[in-house]
């Protein structure tokens, strides 16, 4: 068979195209292309229905497969991360972690930097800069942010109506509401305040424009007794002393019951909480509503996060390029974000495509569980209150489990009347500083925060 010159040209063009294409082609929808061999990534994550996004990702990047395992939520997964890191093997390629625990895993050597494939300029196309506080350290990017923990306040409309309470816009109004409800019915807690969940109080300090610790220029800064922190803790200590608020042990059966039967009039928690409540307290359908947090200064609304998680590339990953592209696409592509919102039930996400696209488009969506309330605008506003005050965001200490357990221990002493709130802050800080030293951190600055 004799080939025409045209067909020879076509065949050779196709040949060169097939050989060279991977090196030159851009990835799907402007995302970076994958240049490595076909791989199967492994991932640990505890969100539900992550598979819908994975399916779409595998279509966008056909040579990367992702095998997802749920090895337990939060602490259950963290013990496995610590163990597998120490053992030198056993970590998956991609790890889900709350933003507050990520610095610990960075320091522990569980994550690896992905700047080579996702440089900061690429990252910032898809995520707001503030999120780098939770996904990067010293210029190294370790992962991407998924959901937002921007705090909201859920409140029992039935309780508020019955006792003639108005939803507080400021903390001063909140204190009045708490006292009024406590007087009317001491059996109902004005708020279920966590006795064993440190992210709660940390988020409240953040919301007031403060922080207890941060990381900058290679140093850990610790200052628990700064004026803003003291103001927030003193406020809550007064509510406790007045008898209106009794901190609860969260996450146990008594607490679930309290959320279901109207034993608490409000709960302040992260942006993911409304969905969590819906799943864990179905009996209370129709009774709860969502609001933004009361403010210290209503003219300058601010907010903080409580929880929220990112996806990070593990130090033991043999395929960091594929893993980096996966975490970038998973948490930012609009198709994935839609699945994460609808199927994985994450109310608000940190991706630009959510903040500027999907989020606002959901403004009219009614939630039957919340009595038909359109909750997305509330959650989005809460998130924007965080995003607009990036100076308040901080990197958590690399010993958060200890920060948490020591807070619980010291808070118990305060509640048992053994120490006042100033002693609580001082003793808590001393315990954390001592623990950091015990863990071998010699780059700790005590008594001040970064400028």
């Amino acid at each position: 068979m004799k080939m025409s010159r045209k067909s020879i040209l076509t065949v050779s063009a196709l040949f060169f195209a097939s050989v060279l294409a991977p090196a030159f082609a851009a990835g799907p929808d402007g995302y970076p292309a994958y240049s490595g061999p076909p791989v199967e990534l492994t991932m640990w994550a505890w969100t539900s229905n992550e598979n819908y996004s994975i399916d779409l990702f595998q279509k966008a990047y056909p040579s990367i497969k992702v095998k997802w395992t749920n090895v337990g939520g939060g602490g259950d997964e963290y013990t496995k991360i610590l163990t597998a890191t120490s053992a030198g093997s056993g970590l998956p390629d991609v790890i889900m972690s709350e933003y507050t625990y990520a610095p610990e895993f960075v320091q522990f050597g569980s994550f690896q930097a992905i700047n080579k494939w996702v440089p900061e300029s690429t990252y910032l196309q898809y995520f707001p800069k503030v999120t780098l506080k939770w996904t990067a350290q010293d210029g190294n990017i370790y992962g991407t942010p998924q959901d937002s923990g921007a705090s909201t306040m859920v409140y029992r409309k039935d309780v508020f109506d019955k006792y003639g309470l108005t939803v507080p816009k400021t903390w001063a109004e909140f204190a009045v509401m708490a006292a009024k409800l406590h007087k009317a019915n001491p059996k109902i807690q004005p708020i279920s305040f966590p006795a064993n969940w440190v992210l709660g109080p940390l988020g409240l300090v953040w919301q007031a424009g403060g922080k207890l610790f941060d990381y900058a220029d290679g140093k850990w800064y610790i200052d628990f007794t700064n004026p803003t922190a003291t103001k927030v803790f003193t406020y809550w200590a007064k509510l406790v002393k007045d008898g209106a608020v009794t901190p609860d042990m969260w996450w146990n059966s008594d607490w679930y019951k309290e959320l279901s039967d109207g034993g608490a009039a409000t709960v302040i928690s992260g942006g993911w909480f409304p969905e969590w409540l819906q799943l864990n307290s179905p009996d209370a359908k129709g009774t709860w509503r969502v609001a933004t947090l009361p403010q210290w200064d209503a003219s300058k609304p601010m907010n903080g996060e409580m929880g929220g998680s990112g996806f990070y590339v593990s130090s033991q990953s043999k395929n960091p390029e594929a893993a980096a592209l996966f975490v970038l696409w998973l948490n930012s592509h609009k198709d994935s974000i839609l699945q994460l919102h609808d199927k994985a039930q994450l109310p608000v996400l940190w991706a630009n495509s959510f903040i500027n696209g999907l989020g606002p488009s959901l403004a009219g969506q009614e939630y039957p569980y919340f009595g038909g309330q359109k909750i997305t605008p509330v959650s989005l506003e809460a998130m924007n209150q965080v995003a607009k005050n990036p100076q308040n965001a901080f990197t958590a200490l690399p010993v958060m489990d200890f920060v948490s357990s020591s807070q619980e221990t010291e808070l118990k002493k305060f509640l048992d009347g053994q120490e006042d709130i100033n002693a609580f802050l001082k003793n808590w800080q001393d315990a954390v500083v001592a623990f950091m030293a015990k863990q071998g951190f010699n780059n700790v600055v005590v008594g001040q925060l970064p400028k």
Binding site: T83, F108, F402
Partner: protein, 287 residues
């Protein structure tokens, strides 16, 4: 001939020896080696005996022994007394198999499930005792408070282990030849006297064994307090085993935790040894 016999013995022992080496001896030796290293993540460096020095000097570690001591001096004697009493009842009742099964059941329940069960028992809002206490005029029963904690542990552990203890004692009782009791009866001894002066002394060996095993259990107590940790704030060093667990799995200080584990093992060894030494004269050793 002798050599051939011992070879055969080792052959029969092989399944056990393989597991012993893999699951006990190797981890122990490896653990001892690791305990001489400092560690953060996958990084390790030799520190000599520093971990041991830190354990011995760590007041947090030693203050965790309060709960085991309470169990040792209060819960175990109480359980052994109850066990003897129930075992004697088993022996007296005809067709006691049903009761033996009932008393044994808590022991057969996995610790985690028992933990969930008891967390409901002591729940503020859902405990079955709440309506009862309310009827008795207690407005807001709060079981789980710091001063109550040792007693709550005592209740749970008694519930878990007394039936088992009674069953072990009962199996010893039934192996006592009936002639002793019959002879005593002919001599005019009452049932109580027979129980106290004939039967109980013959339980001595079994009681001693139970004492050793339960003391080891008390020093290692972990499951029950860990379950209670969801209901009330417990310090990370509430018991030595909890402290070891937290140092390893919450804070990632594995080699320090191993050193603590080995020190705890040494403490257990010493206590067991003292018990043995103190009791060996009292025992009938059929060697």
């Amino acid at each position: 001939m002798k050599k051939k016999n011992s070879l055969r013995a080792y052959l029969f022992l092989a399944p056990f020896l393989v597991f012993f080496v893999l699951a006990t001896a190797y981890p122990l030796v490896y653990g001892i080696i690791l305990s001489f290293f400092g560690q953060r993540g996958a990084k390790m460096w030799f520190v000599g005996a520093n971990n041991y020095a830190a354990v011995v000097a760590d007041p947090q570690f030693w203050s965790g022994f309060g709960i085991p001591a309470f169990l040792l001096f209060v819960q175990i004697p109480l359980m052994l007394l109850l066990g003897i009493f129930i075992a004697l009842l088993f022996e007296r009742i005809k067709r006691s198999a049903f009761y033996r099964l009932i008393f044994y059941l808590p022991y057969a329940l996995p610790g985690v499930i028992a933990g969930i069960l008891w967390s409901y028992m002591f729940s503020k809002s859902m405990s079955p005792f709440v309506p009862l206490l309310k009827a008795m005029g207690v407005a807001q029963p709060d079981f789980i408070t710091n001063p109550n904690l040792p007693w709550i542990l005592l209740v749970i552990i008694l519930w878990e282990w007394t039936g088992y203890t009674a069953l072990v004692l009962y199996s010893t009782l039934v192996s006592i030849p009936p002639e002793y009791a019959e002879a005593a009866q002919i001599d005019g001894a009452t049932r109580f006297q027979i129980a106290l002066h004939i039967k109980v002394p013959m339980l001595k060996n079994t009681l001693f064994l139970l004492l050793i095993f339960n003391s080891i259990g008390a020093l290692q107590v972990f499951n029950e307090p860990r379950m209670l940790g969801g209901l009330i704030t417990l310090p990370p060093n509430f018991t030595p085993a909890m402290y070891i667990y937290n140092e390893a799995f919450s804070y990632g200080a594995f080699t320090f935790a191993i050193a603590m584990g080995l020190v705890l093992a040494a403490v257990i060894f010493v206590i067991s040894f003292l018990f043995m030494k103190g009791s060996v004269k009292e025992l009938d050793v059929h060697a």
